[in-house]
């Protein structure tokens, strides 16, 4: 199935893209599964997503944990802890 991956702030810069439609196997249909799938690409993907202490995830614009399930067409955003205000 396909999901839309969004990257923000330093993750966007390190990986060098802000959005990409990603095909993932049905067996990887959780946030954790998608992350492992992306990290297997190696390089900047592997490095940027390695430390989940500094990565937050939102599914369809709601904060989500590693076990959150994914469905076809979901929007999954990876970003660092927020620093607004």
């Amino acid at each position: 199935m396909k999901v839309k991956v969004l990257l923000f702030a330093n993750l966007r810069e390190r990986i060098g893209t802000s959005a990409e439609v990603v095909e993932i196997p049905d067996s990887a249909s959780t946030v954790a599964g998608l992350r492992m799938h992306l990290m297997r690409r190696g390089g900047a993907w592997q490095e940027a997503l390695a430390d989940m202490k500094v990565v937050r995830v939102a599914v369809n614009q709601d904060m989500a944990g590693a076990n959150a399930p994914l469905n076809p067409g979901d929007e999954v955003a990876f970003f660092p802890p927020v620093t607004g205000g």
Partner: protein, 152 residues
Amino acid sequence: MKVSVQAEDFDLSTEVIEISMNTRTGAVASFVGVVRDVAMTLEHYPGMTENAIKKIVEEARSRWQILDLVVIHRYGELQPGDQIVLVAIASSHRGDAFAACQFIMDYLKTQAPFWKKEHHPEGARWVNALESDDEAAARWRKLKEPQRLLKS
């Protein structure tokens, strides 16, 4: 109840007048965040950012008496001295207005998807999230009862 994520600047007195129309209003508390000595770029997540702020506002409304409020957060290129964020609360009494204003700011800092990139002379760098900001937000979770200690 107004929530706006915008590039444009805002005017405090205009916004305060807007939320002070209700004749039950007896107190308006406001907070303005300002860029310190380093220019910055503020990035956000269009859509999610507005929704996250609206959720924080709903939580505040469930805890305190809020007659009206405004939250404005800017994004884009900001220079030292520029205004970044406005939170203003109109209530019948100051206790609710002060508390709701601080609550919304504390939650904005940890829940709303904004990221600051500072432009230092030696190069640009992303601002790291502060543990003290998480602690400031966590403080409110321990308070089960609405805080209405003060009457104006």
